[in-house]
Symmetry: C2
Subunit: 190 residues, 2 copies
Amino acid sequence: MAHVSIIGNGNMGQAISGIVTASGNTVEVLGHGDTKPVTGDIVILAVPYPAVSDVIAKRADQLAGKVVVDITNPLNFETFDELVVPADSSAAHGIADALPTAKVVKAFNTNFAATLAATTVGDQPTTVLIAGDDADAKALLTDIVTAAGLRAIDAGALKRARELESLAFLQIGLAAGQKVSWAGGFAVVA
Amino acid sequence: MAHVSIIGNGNMGQAISGIVTASGNTVEVLGHGDTKPVTGDIVILAVPYPAVSDVIAKRADQLAGKVVVDITNPLNFETFDELVVPADSSAAHGIADALPTAKVVKAFNTNFAATLAATTVGDQPTTVLIAGDDADAKALLTDIVTAAGLRAIDAGALKRARELESLAFLQIGLAAGQKVSWAGGFAVVA
C-alpha cells in the first residue's frame, strides 16, 4: 500500500487523485497554499510550473529522500511558443537539482486531465510515460497507474524529461490551436 | 497535379512514394547516389540525416526555390540517447539555413514507415504533423497527404521542427526498446 500526497487541487491534481484512489492506494490532496506537512511516500507536484519553486522553497525538508513526481510543463503560457527552461535542460532537471536527495520522476505531463479521468485516449488506454533515474521510484508509480487501469511505459532516464516536455508542449499547442481536443492528443499504440 | 521527387529509396522513401501515388499525383524516386536532376515541384529528402549534407552539396541549385520536405531524425543512432543537432535548433533549421530560397517543411519524421503504408496507427488514421513557415508549401503537402487517406495537421512554424524531432526521438527510442512496435507509436486523436 502506497500513500500518496498531491500538492495542487486543480484539474490535474484531481485526476491523479482519482487514479490513486482507483488503484487501491491512499491519497491526500493539499492546495498549493496549504501549510500541512505532506505525509505521503510519494509526493506529486501538481501545481503549475511557475509555482514549483515556491513549493520547493517551503517544503524542501519534507521532500528530502522522497519520490517526487514532476508533472509540469514549463511553457510560456502567454505565447504558447516556447518553453521557459533552457533548451538543453528540463523542468524535471531543475527540480532534481533543487532536491538533490529526492527521487525525481517525470510523469503525467504528456496526459491531458480528461484522458486521465477517462482512462482512454480514442480507443487506446491512456498511457503515462514515466522518466527517471531511480528504478524503484518508477516501479512504484507504474504499479499505481496500472492498478488504476491505465498503461505506463518507462520512457528512460530523467534526461528524457526534455523530450517528454517537448512532446507535451507540442500537444498543448495543438489543443490550444484547436487541432486536437483537450480530451484527445497523443495516444500511445503499443 | 503536383509532381513530387523523392530522394532516397529506403522504407520511408517507398512509403511516401506510395502516398503520392495514392493521392493521384506523380512521383519519381531517386536513389541517394542518383545523379539525375530532380524534376518535382516538391522534393522530399528521404535519406538518413547524415546523408542530407551530401545531397544538399550536390543539389543546392536544383533545390533553390522549391518546396523541400525534411523527414529526417538527427539521432545518434549508436546510443539512441541524444540528438546530434544543437538543443536550441533542429535538422530542419540546418537545412533551411543551407537552402535559403527553398520553402522548407518538416513532415513525416514522426511517422513510422509501416504506419504510412497502413494509413492507420491503432484505430486512428495516420496523422502527418507538418511544420513550416510557408503556408502554401504546407497546404500543398497537406493536399497530397489527405488525398491519400491520411490526416495532416499543421503543427505551426518551422521552429516547431524542434519539438517534432524530440517527439520522434522519443518514439524511436520506445520502439528500439520494444516498448512500442515499429507499426505503432504515437497516434494523434483529434
